[in-house]
Subunit: 466 residues, 2 copies
């Protein structure tokens, strides 16, 4: 009996060692199932592989590596969109509203919608709502307005992304030309109100970004501004970088650090943008190459990294269950629309630095799933600085606009913008990359759809998907 017992004991010990080795080899993390579970979802708006390649070349050189390049696992994400009039019909290029809605709700929808269904306009439950209901803290951090399409899709429901504040709900024009009507969402009509009003009534513990202008006005049917309403709803209001150093325990936080989108970090020399090549006798005059420079308007703007660190500290303070945090570097996309390659590069750098903070946080908070992805592709293309076909006798040049950058490693990189002839470039329908830390390595397949991504995050937090 003694012999058998000793062998049995030995067996148990070895099997435990064995199981532990297995877990380690498989990247398992069963060791601390009791600690809070956190999801940090970092979205680079428009950050497709082209944007990353362009930014890498400038920031660390062609052979360098960004932090996101060194993540434990890499996948690719299918961006799915449908037609509003015929919701079974595929549309091959998304906008930020429908793509963020797919990630936030698990449902494919049509362009410009914020977590509502194509055709039927039904509210689609979002990660912030499901996570809050399950006891998780929730937050959104962005370099755009906190009411912009990407963050909005995580906590609000409207048929049009443009309905950011009470003045935009009907008889309004977005960009001075796009007719807007969200009248069914008016509070007086039994709706949830504008996106800004929905933020205040949401379960969000924290929202940092720009968008002061959307909260400075009176609420629908109210004599109080949305800022006053926010304070009365228990939000601590922040509007300067220095305030992010302080702690606000047991408060909800609303940080609005600019009137609209936050200023970006980098710009072209002297503010120059992309320019057209000009044919000349015996060839072509390409736009003069330039280095990027710091954007003076950025100055006292809180960086995405700083906002992310403040958000992580707030959401994790004495946390029991854990949290869901969405962090968006919004102006990779916005600067690409404006054909400003330096602008986009600086915002990829901001994302990469915020990721560094998230990775550092995860070192001491073991059940933290970090996912970095983009919502859709963007117009910018890295093309040869001198044509593959260059020849003194031929004037070969882009029919669009070129942004020619002198990189710190001393070469010239040409970024082409030629998806349209309008003031703002188009999105593209390319699949987008996804990166995850070790926690996500074995739960993320090598390819997934945006709704699949919602499923991965929901399942990780054990949410009740409806």
């Amino acid at each position: 009996m003694l012999l058998i017992s000793k062998i049995a004991l030995y067996t148990v010990v070895l099997l435990l060692v064995c199981a532990q080795a297995g877990n380690t080899l498989a990247g398992g993390d069963n060791a601390a199932v009791q600690s809070p579970k956190n999801v940090i979802l970092i979205i680079g708006d428009g950050m497709d592989d082209h944007q990353i390649s362009i930014a890498r070349n400038y920031l660390v050189g062609a052979r360098g590596r960004l932090s996101l390049d060194s993540m434990a696992h890499r996948s690719v994400v299918q961006v799915l969109t449908v037609d509003n009039a015929q919701p079974e019909k595929a549309v091959y290029v998304a906008d930020s509203a429908n793509s963020a809605s797919a990630i936030a709700s698990g449902s494919v929808t049509s362009r410009a919608r914020i977590a509502t269904s194509a055709g039927t306009d039904k509210d689609l439950p979002t990660l912030v709502e499901l996570a809050s209901a399950a006891g998780f803290r929730t937050g959104v951090v962005t370099t755009a307005s906190v009411t912009d399409a990407t963050p909005a899709a995580f906590y609000a429901h409207t048929n049009l992304r443009y309905c950011e504040n009470p003045s935009m709900m009907k008889d309004a024009l977005a960009y001075g030309r796009v007719p807007v009507d969200c009248s069914q969402d008016l509070i007086v009509n039994g709706g949830l109100g504008s996106i800004a009003e929905q933020l205040l009534s949401s379960d969000l513990d924290l929202a940092f970004g720009g968008g002061q202008k959307h909260f400075a006005m009176l609420g629908e049917g109210s004599s109080k501004s949305l800022l006053v309403q926010a304070r009365e709803s228990g939000f601590e209001l922040l509007d300067s970088k220095a305030q992010l150093d302080k702690q606000y325990p047991n408060k909800k936080m609303l940080g609005l650090f600019a009137r609209s989108t936050l200023p970006v970090v980098l710009r072209g020399q002297g503010g120059r943008g992309a320019e057209a090549a000009v044919p000349k006798q015996n060839g072509v005059s390409l736009p003069e190459a330039m280095p990027c420079e710091n954007n003076p308007k950025f100055a006292d703007t809180p960086s995405l990294k700083l906002m992310t660190e403040a958000a992580l500290a707030h959401l994790s303070r004495e946390s029991q269950a854990g949290f869901f945090l969405m962090v968006e570097s919004a102006s990779i996309d916005k600067q690409s629309h404006l054909r400003n390659a330096c602008g986009s590069i600086g915002e990829v750098a901001q994302l990469n630095e915020a990721l560094d903070s998230a990775l550092l946080f995860a070192e001491t908070h073991e059940n933290t799933l970090i996912i970095v992805t983009a919502d859709h592709g963007q117009a910018a293309q890295l093309i040869p600085s001198v044509s593959l076909y260059s020849n003194p006798d031929l004037a070969i040049y882009s029919p669009g606009k070129l942004f020619r950058i002198i990189t710190p490693e001393g070469a010239v990189m040409a970024v082409n913008y030629a998806t349209n002839d309008f003031v703002s470039e188009e999105h593209t329908g390319v699949n987008v990359p996804l990166f995850t830390n070790g926690v996500g390595k074995n739960i993320l397949p090598s390819m997934l759809t945006q709704p699949d991504l919602f499923g991965v995050m929901s399942d990780y937090l054990g949410l009740d998907r409806q």
Copy 2:
């Protein structure tokens, strides 16, 4: 002593089980180290994520999956190029010659070079040479000429890709306008001769593709054509699809199935290509959308799948050591240069079908590493079929050329070509995808350079890297 022995035995058994479990969890495949090791490298020329997204939408629908989407592991590859005059200086956009040379030799070089070093023009040992020297069989299969840049980089060495045959070695013009001089590679000057001549003197067991015209002429300083020389060197010559059904044991094989590049599978309706949008009163006339159709010229052309299957059968027949096979779908790139989206889609389909054959082969040949990648990015961009900013009052359209396709799932997909105004579009500098089967899952990091990829394949075959 008996007790200790029994416990010791038990321990050994359990540790072996434990080690086996660890291997299984880590995806180890130590079970059959004795069977031949094979590498099948499938290159989609210009097959970046845009090309794959466009092809997927057409071939299987936006929510569908290609075989390559379902591979066990996915990585991304940095495409590296340097300047010939200043080999330390980065160039951000590659051509197929320098990128294939980096994969084939492990060294970054300058555009247009075939496995020779930037600046110094030294021959760089290639995978075909190293694998042949180590006893592996070797082959190249392509839909281009067998002397085109991508296959050539695996077995030849020239300073310019254009030196495909004896007539192109000096005082020649490529495309009727690019001056060509490879005189240092002339046999009379102690060189290895043109690429076609180097193919004949190489260790290749097999080359399938197009390029009859390069072998129909007399060899340098010879009264015999290269075809005659090939036969005398032990090559079985094939020039028709039906011949691929036969077996040619103990022979080297040279299959040349077209005068130059093989015809492609698909084309635009009636042969239509991309066209310019035309502004009109109150808007813009976009090119009429069309389905793709079979290219009648393809007819009796052997498919990439058929050539791949014949190559696998030949290289694996009574194989002891194993083989290295490079398979290229070349016209994804060539059709994109010509702004023919249907053409590129058909050639992604060809690659995907050849991959199916490789995967089937690997099911019964366990140590077969399959890698699918691209050599560089290409011009095509999937943009909205109707602008994001569409408005009856605005005429918004691409400044380049549009190829608007009606997909089998009934939607319209717009492919934009706008990198230049020349007869042929540019490449791009985006990172390219890499896919591998289970054998490669644990030996390929989530990001690598093209020279790293050479290292992975060399190490897998245990080659002596010089």
